[in-house]
């Protein structure tokens, strides 16, 4: 069953939803020197949320999440005190940054603050909604969209708040720094000279409702979300697993690949992801027709992990609505594996389609592929 997005909110290094989309179309990047984390991580750059203080606030991730959830629910006009509302929060690193500061800096933390129930309930004025935090790496919010649609399909909720969020953790930065010889200075998806991934931060939230009860309030339709697990390797993606998620998404959405005119790629600028994703896209969309336009946001926003899928969904929805697909920031010359893929580069490209596909692949081989529809 198709679900409708009836409200949304987003915070990235580029700003709120409108500011993010505007900056993406202008080809801007939110890259800057890394803050808060010492030189010991071997990571020098990142895509930080702009804040009016140099101090690292406590529970930053929970704060952005709460802002986005409040905004999305306000837009949707849903009342959690009256309707059956479930909140599903997808995250890669939870509040592990707060655990690090608790363990090493003596910052205050209680065990329930490692997840996001309190943050969501506070955003909803204390409404005792059911909140489930799921830590599914860089595909987390894509998985939550799938489960949100499932809950509506089975009639187990009137509305589902689907959200994603992450702040950087020192431990994850360190593990990125450990496997890079020279620190990366920009994330460049699908670029031949790419040097690896950099982290972003932020949050996004949407309200999902059954489409037949959302007439006149619909921002975009979630047609279907496909899920799969490679069960292959912790850090190396697998073409077959990714293709299965895409095929599952198309089946659940009731669409064929040739109906999809735009793809928001996962595109992390790593040695492994970009060729694997390119190969999977070419296998699914074929080499004969022109194929969909392919773009991605991580060259501008960094890898925002738990929120990445949902941010890409919101950017894709705006592209379908305005007919303008933003370019891949940082892409000059595409990797050979991209072959015939129509990557958007240099500036925005017109896109005249109602259906977009959003890819999200995570550590451990967890894949979530979403198909959305916006009719102009």
């Amino acid at each position: 069953m198709t679900a409708a997005i009836t409200g949304s909110g987003m915070r990235t290094c580029l700003g709120d939803s409108a500011q993010t989309v505007k900056a993406l179309l202008a080809g801007e990047s939110g890259i800057g020197p890394i803050r808060y984390y010492g030189p010991g991580t071997n990571v020098t750059h990142g895509y930080h949320i702009r804040e009016d203080t140099d101090e690292e606030r406590l529970l930053r991730c929970s704060g952005w999440l709460a802002e986005c959830v409040a905004e999305a629910v306000r837009h949707a006009g849903v009342d959690p005190a009256v309707q059956r509302v479930t909140a599903l929060v997808g995250t890669g690193l939870r509040e592990l940054r707060s655990v690090e500061r608790w363990a090493h800096d003596g910052a205050p933390l209680r065990r329930h603050q490692t997840h996001f129930a309190a943050a969501v309930r506070e955003a909803l004025n204390g409404a005792p909604v059911e909140v489930v935090t799921v830590s599914n790496a860089c595909a987390a919010s894509g998985h939550m969209l799938a489960l949100g649609q499932d809950l509506l399909d089975l009639g187990e909720a009137d509305a589902v708040v689907v959200a994603g969020c992450d702040s950087m953790s020192e431990s994850m930065l360190a593990m990125i720094g450990l496997v890079t010889a020279e620190p990366t200075t920009a994330l460049r998806p699908f670029e031949t000279t790419r040097t690896g991934v950099l982290l972003g931060e932020g949050a996004a939230a949407v309200v999902l409702e059954p489409a037949d009860r959302a007439q006149g309030r619909t921002e975009a339709l979630v047609r279907g979300v496909g899920l799969s697990c490679d069960a292959y390797h912790e850090t190396a993606p697998d073409v077959d697993g990714i293709v299965r998620a895409m095929t599952d998404a198309h089946t659940r959405a009731g669409v064929s690949p040739d109906q999809i005119g735009l793809v928001l790629a996962h595109g992390t600028g790593t040695a492994l992801n970009d060729p694997t994703e390119s190969t999977a896209l070419r296998r699914v969309f074929g080499e004969d027709g022109p194929g969909p336009l392919v773009t991605g946001i991580k060259g501008a926003t960094g890898h925002t992990s738990g929120g990445a899928a949902l941010m890409s969904v919101l950017v894709a929805a705006e592209a379908l609505r305005t007919g303008q697909a933003p370019p891949v920031v940082g892409l000059d010359e595409a990797i050979p594996e991209a072959g015939s893929l129509r990557l958007v580069r240099g500036g925005p490209q017109p896109v005249d389609t109602a259906l977009a596909q959003i890819n999200a692949f995570g550590f451990g081989g967890v894949n979530a592929v979403t198909v959305i529809e916006v009719t102009r």
Partner: protein, 318 residues
Amino acid sequence: MTGTAAASDTPEVRITGCSVYLPEPFPVPARGPLAGVLARLAGQPAPPPEEAHLVLGRKGLLYKEPATRMALCAVHRALGLPEGKKPAAPLPGGAGTAVVASSNLGNVETVGDIVGHVRSGRLRDVSALAGPNASSNIVASTVAIRFGFTAPNLMVCSGATGGLDAVRLGSLLLRTGRASRVVVVGTEPADEVASRLNATGPNGAALRAGAACLVLETEGSGVRLGAFRRSPEAVPVGVGTGLALGQGLTGPDVDPLPELGDTYGASGVVYAALAAMSLTDPEGPDTALVACGDEEDGYALLELRRQREEALAGSGAR
């Protein structure tokens, strides 16, 4: 407002296998509803995480954290695999099998340890093989890779309700056709960092290392899942967690917390597995109510019913 899950036009979900994996000794009561189950459990020792190879076989355990090792052991036993031997992956049915894991504290020690190395300029001393443990979904993905489970893979980290949240999401994956079998596994370690963080919680019980697993399917025979509920408040009898066995259930009347200790994100799976074992005992009750949670995270409740009820009441209906 509580969430309720009980769809009538979707297939029933059954527990077709289960296990509880508690390496440290626990008291076995002489009488009471769980005496038999706990005595049976105590009779099958659970080697500590560093000796997990006795259950799992030797390969593929390097740099795996205690929570991950115990989760693998719980899954291995719930699936009835031969002890001490790594099975060839994928297992039969692996392509349709999903994994839903629950853990909150599994990697907090590793995360703290990596930061300790960074702060003292010793990052190069950290093995790249430990790197994956910085990601919180390491438990769920390791289970999938070891056994070859390629259906959806979820890592629930929702605090004290996590165990039953995982059961609920597992049931959802079956009823929407995303999987034909779901392995639900809860696990928590009891290292120094995890224990200290756990002590900031409201219930005051010491953290116990352990894991438990439920295998959920819509085919086959086994204890049936009933209604799932989330509630912001403790259940009516005033006992927040545990399980009730027998008829006319309103809330848990057996609270294993003081004796077993707190298994936090695993507790919902531990209690559900203990209840399922009671319900398959010929002398056992017909229904059970399982609860987990605390006053900060809220509570989750799940009803379970034994198979023989169906044999008596529903043989003509299906």
